[in-house]
């Protein structure tokens, strides 16, 4: 172990890891690929990788290196998997515009087909979390209440009770989950983008991720109910306090001014 870790930074290490990872993906793929359609899929897949590579060299290589090995401007993409690409590019975070404490969510500039090609290329660099299928992330039939409990244990500390987001250290933040696609929620838990920790299937099985997604959809989407009226951002006492001061006390003072004011006189003097 020690010997291995000591050589971790050897110039050739990346190449070795790359080769090993490629061999591993290839092996895994061979093992799991459905036998009948393997041929057709294979050609489609290699085509996608080819296309993805072209997109990659235009849009990503300047920061992540020509072979995805990473540079000082961007981390290595070897082993991040297609899920990470789908999340980062699919939410517009990648390609990044400028360095900062955190890369924000932006307008998505690639089509889903292009994202899939990029994902295929990056996945080909090394095994990593695979982008989920709809069956994996669709919240249909999930246990919302269980999801709520899991959300409060695992997510609320950064993302707030109902996923409104919150602050982290030195300008970093946990973004709001409002309007985030279930697929991207799933991928974020799977891959742990930027400073978010990951919640891999080994510690949070697929079903629980679905429960969490169902909970987020139930409490933080345009279909979410707010029986009491205005949600006030869902931020708790700070926004409630501001509202009470500005609209509550403000309205009462306006009324008090009317009550105490002298009535208009018949003639101006």
């Amino acid at each position: 172990m020690k010997k291995l870790s000591a050589r971790r930074r050897h110039p050739l290490a990346a190449v070795v890891v790359l080769l090993l990872a490629l061999a591993a993906t290839g092996g895994l793929y061979a093992a799991f690929a459905p036998a009948g359609t393997a041929k057709a899929d294979e050609t489609a897949q290699s085509l996608a990788i080819e296309e993805g590579k072209k997109l990659y060299s235009v849009g990503c290589a300047s920061c992540h290196g020509t072979g995805g090995q990473g540079t000082t401007d961007g981390p290595s993409l070897v082993g991040v998997g297609s899920a990470a690409v789908d999340f980062q590019v699919g939410t517009g975070r990648m390609p990044a515009q400028q360095p900062g404490a955190q890369i924000p969510r932006k307008k998505v500039i690639y089509s889903q087909a292009e994202i899939d090609q990029l994902a295929a290329y990056v996945a080909s660099l090394g095994a990593g979390p695979i982008a989920p299928t709809e069956g994996q992330y669709s919240p249909d039939g999930a246990d919302i209440a269980k999801g709520g409990e899991l959300f409060r244990t695992n997510c609320a500390q950064c993302h707030n009770f109902t996923g409104e987001g919150g602050a982290l250290t030195y300008g970093k933040y946990a973004p709001s989950l409002e309007g985030v696609d279930p697929k991207h929620l799933y991928e974020a838990m799977q891959t742990g983008p930027q400073n978010m920790p990951s919640f891999p299937d080994t510690t949070m099985p697929e079903k629980e991720k679905k429960d969490i997604i169902a909970y987020v959809q139930a409490v933080n989407s345009d279909k979410a109910d707010s029986p009491g009226g205005l949600k006030l951002g869902g931020l708790g006492p700070v926004s409630e306090g501001l509202f009470a001061w500005i609209f509550g006390l403000g309205a009462l003072i306006a009324v008090a001014i009317w009550v105490a004011a002298h009535t208009a006189k018949a003639k101006k003097s």
Partner: protein, 541 residues
């Protein structure tokens, strides 16, 4: 005796009831003094009424809530209509609050009125207190009433805090956990106090029931007593009023209680209640279903108390983590110091009337509400105090400032650490200068009249603005305020050449007095001579 009542004509029914009551309660004597009691008209004099009425609304709605709320921490499984919590374990307190919100018709409305009214009650008391402070209405004979009011504000904070904790939700539970951690930091007694308050280790199964009796009985009981005393004193002292024609220190000018203020003040109760009911209809407050039941191993970001505890929250957030370990004991300064600063800052404003009267040496009664500009040092002190308070409120919400203004949490914390000390100083200096500027403007207005906006061209080509002289009433209003002469220490030796003993406190008093009434702390009022000289023709400016 009673046989004498041999009335020819029966009095109307109302009068007979009043007679009956008078024979037992003496209401006529009471009414004679109070029925036509005069109240001055000014919007800021109604802030206290906002507090009184929101307090009444809180009591009314609170009584309703007690009929459905179960102050118990027994664990139950939720089986109500709110899907995202079905099957979850929660305390009965939380469960019954869910029941009030989702199954009792109008229960949610009453809960929201109760909570909104509580926020407005505290905000109203804060503003009312500031009104009294900045107009000097706390001066003799009202110092004790000022203290009653202050106690109401202080107790109101804790009544609010205990109420906020009752539903046993994840947000308030975090607040209670903070309180327990703060109690633990008390030297020597901390662990004992915590064990006794919570009936053992945190959270235990007792605190909701204990907070409940404090929230619905003990604290509101004391507050009700204080409110009554506060109102009696307002009646006895009669309300202050602003100086103006016919308004002196020896009278109070306004409208009588019956009928005008009966209608205005009585009507204002309905107006306040109506506004709060509308707010409760349109804006959600403390949606416990979105927050979830309390578990000590769960938390959400943005964990804040209600606004009136935000000042304490700010102190605790920005304090550096000092901890001293000595002889096997721990002194938790990082928690203790904020815990001590919090009441100290509040006490500073509470004892201010006594400090000011000591500095001025003025023991006379004051019934004229001052204009803040005419007491620059006091006004500056008050603004400095508010600045410190507001900066700590910012500190208490530092995470939300960070996310909403794209700032670094750590930078905001540092900003608050520095500006808690620097901000009040800047505010003090700036406010004092502004007050003096306004005093100068008043003086100019008195001496030269109001700027009319009419430009006149003089024969030799010069343009001047025509100044309209003020009415006598306005002249009086702008010159009615009193000005103290700065105190001086008596000469070091008395007339017999014997050295005079001057206490250190007296020296301090004179120094502070100069800060209040020295040459650079007030602008001398215009004198009649100055006025006459200018008005007699020469000197247009």
């Amino acid at each position: 005796m009673s046989t004498v009542t041999n009335t020819q004509k029966k009095a109307p029914a109302g009068e007979r009831v009043a007679d009956w009551a008078d024979g037992r309660l003496g209401i006529y004597t009471l009414a004679k003094a109070n029925m036509r009691k005069i109240f001055p008209d000014h919007w800021s004099f109604m802030l206290g009424e906002v507090c009184l009425y929101s307090f009444l609304i809180i009591i009314l709605t609170g009584v309703y809530l007690t009929m459905f709320f179960h102050p118990s921490m027994n664990e139950v499984e939720y089986a109500g209509p709110y899907v995202p919590l079905q099957g979850q374990l929660m305390s009965e307190a939380f469960n019954s609050t869910m029941h009030i919100s989702f199954e009792v018709r109008g229960g949610l409305l009453i809960r929201q009125i109760h909570h909104w009214a509580a926020l407005i009650f505290l905000a109203g008391m804060f503003v009312h207190m500031m009104r009294v402070f900045f107009t000097g209405a706390f001066r003799k004979p009202r110092e004790i009433n000022w203290l009653f009011g202050f106690l109401l504000f202080f107790l109101g904070m804790f009544t609010g805090f205990t109420g906020y904790s009752l539903p046993d939700d994840l947000l308030s539970g975090t607040g209670v956990r903070f309180m327990q951690g703060a109690i633990l930091s008390v030297p020597v007694l901390g662990t004992y106090l915590s064990m006794f308050l919570f009936g053992g280790e945190f959270p235990g199964g007792d605190f909701v029931a204990r907070f409940y009796s404090a929230h619905v009985l003990l604290l509101p009981g004391i507050m009700l007593g204080l409110v009554v005393a506060h109102l009696i004193l307002v009646f006895v002292h009669k309300h202050t009023h602003f100086a103006g024609p016919g308004r002196t220190n020896e009278n109070v000018v306004g409208m009588p209680l019956l009928p005008v203020y009966m209608a205005k003040a009585g009507g204002f109760f309905f107006l306040v209640f109506g506004v709060i009911a509308v707010i409760a209809a349109i804006a959600s407050i403390n949606p416990i279903w979105a927050i979830g039941p309390y578990r000590p191993d769960q938390v959400s970001t943005g964990a804040q108390p209600d606004w009136y505890m935000g000042f304490a929250e700010g102190l605790i957030r920005v304090m550096p983590g000092w901890e001293i370990n000595l002889w096997g004991h721990t002194l938790v300064l990082g928690v203790m110091i904020p815990l001590a600063i919090f009441p100290a800052v509040l006490a500073a404003i509470a004892v201010y009337p006594f400090i000011e009267s000591w500095i001025t040496g003025d023991k006379r009664e004051h019934h004229i509400a001052q204009r803040p500009r005419n007491a620059p040092t006091r006004t500056a002190f008050g603004v400095a105090w508010i600045t410190a308070y507001m900066i700590m409120l910012v500190g208490g919400g530092n995470d939300l400032w960070a996310t909403h203004f794209h700032l670094s949490l750590n930078s905001i914390t540092w900003f608050v650490r520095i500006f808690f000390f620097v901000g009040p100083v800047i505010a003090f200096i700036a406010t004092k200068r502004i007050c003096l500027g306004l005093q100068r403007r008043d003086k100019d207005k008195v001496l030269h009249g109001r700027e009319s906006g009419i430009i006149k061209r003089l024969p030799h080509g010069e343009f001047v603005e025509v100044h309209e002289p003020l009415s006598q009433g306005e002249l009086h209003r702008l010159t009615a305020h009193e000005q103290y002469a700065a105190a001086e220490l008596p000469p070091a030796v008395d007339e017999n050449g014997v050295e005079r003993k001057i206490g250190r406190m007296e020296k301090l008093r004179v120094k502070l007095n100069k800060g209040y009434y020295g040459d650079d702390s007030q602008i001398a009022k215009p004198t009649v001579e100055e006025y006459k000289e200018i008005q007699s023709g020469h000197g247009h400016h």
